[in-house]
């Protein structure tokens, strides 16, 4: 028997962190997605324990300043893409600059240098990934998905999907369905 699962990544991570830190007897609190504060003073061996324990779950403690900023940019972008109520009304460049307290020029250069892609492309990639997720796991129509992801029209979503992946949303859906049939 084969099951298809949907994950709430944030809840998964929060639970893993809570369980593991309580096993290690360390007090901590979650500040934001991917950002925590440790409330106890850690000894060197405790610090190593923390890193090793988290590594088993694919969680890495980021120690380099540039990587931290890149991760913050990515998190802010994902937050923007998931912003269904349209609470973010400013342009993405303004939003990122204000949220991260750096000029957009600086953020954009750093981002391209480290990730080999531009912030603009990364935003599109995340939106299209979100659309793919909805196409394969929900019964929403493409029009509904376009609306949910704040595209001005279904044509706009389809065009961006095709430009990014080289295939149309309907071909994508057909391929994923056929793949599941042969692996079932």
């Amino acid at each position: 028997m084969k099951l298809f699962l949907k994950f709430d990544v944030k809840q998964l991570c929060d639970n893993i962190l809570s369980n593991q830190f309580s096993n290690l007897n360390i007090n901590f609190r979650i500040l934001a997605y991917g950002e925590i504060e440790i409330l106890d003073k850690l000894s060197k061996t405790q610090w190593i324990d923390v890193k090793n324990t988290l590594e088993d779950y694919g969680i890495t403690v980021v120690e380099d300043q540039k990587s931290i900023l890149i991760q913050k940019i990515k998190d802010a972008i994902i937050e923007m893409v998931n912003d269904e109520e349209e609470t973010i009304t400013v342009k993405s460049s303004v939003y990122l600059a204000e949220k991260l307290n750096h000029s957009y020029g600086y953020l954009s250069n750093l981002f391209s240098e480290i990730t080999y892609t531009s912030i603009e492309n990364y935003i599109i990639l995340q939106k299209i990934e979100h659309a793919k997720h909805l196409i394969t796991t929900s019964s929403m129509t493409l029009t509904e998905i376009a609306f949910k992801l704040n595209y001005s029209s279904v044509a706009h979503l389809s065009t961006q999907f095709k430009n990014t992946t080289g295939i149309t949303p309907s071909a994508f859906q057909r391929i994923i369905v056929k793949r599941r049939e042969i692996t079932l």
Binding site: G58, D64, T115, Y116, T117, E129, H133, G166
Partner: protein, 148 residues
């Protein structure tokens, strides 16, 4: 951040295509380590060695003597150790049938071989940077489909 060197393997029976491919990668911004095999049998022999380094990206030509790209693809997807590699089909054919068939069988990328070196570099650069986002961001690889 992960180690910035990516391992790439190409199986292609055409010597010129192998040469252009290797040269194109030398000129890309992302650092890579490229190895090539002349046919599907040699490729599978390498991958099946227990101590082989599995590439982050595997490029398969479709028409090869002895063992075709599709046969390699099917074998790889059946093998638990190999099935998570990102696979790019690299072919002179752009028939809709080949494209859909290989995607359904589990390929992630389909590239029609470009006819000039500049376009080849551009296509490979796009493949590698897109793959890089999946690799570093733990995006869902099952949804990774790219056609160029």
């Amino acid at each position: 951040m992960q180690n910035n060197l990516i391992n790439i393997v190409l199986a292609d029976d055409d010597e010129d295509d192998r040469l252009f491919f290797t040269e194109a990668f030398e000129e890309l911004k992302i650092k890579s380590n490229v190895s090539t095999y002349n046919n599907g049998v040699l490729l599978m022999e390498y991958l099946n060695k227990t101590d082989s380094i599995l590439p982050e990206l595997l490029f398969l030509d479709l028409n090869m003597p002895k063992k075709s790209g599709i046969e390699c693809l099917v074998d790889i997807k059946k093998n638990a150790r190999l099935k998570d590699m990102v696979i790019a089909i690299y072919s002179t054919s752009a028939s809709e049938e080949d494209i859909e068939k290989t995607f359904v069988l589990g390929a992630n990328i389909y590239i029609k071989k470009p006819n000039d070196f500049k376009k080849l570099k551009k296509a490979l650069s796009e493949v590698v940077t897109t793959n890089w986002q999946y690799q570093t961001d733990s995006l869902n690889k099952d949804n990774f489909l790219l056609r160029l």
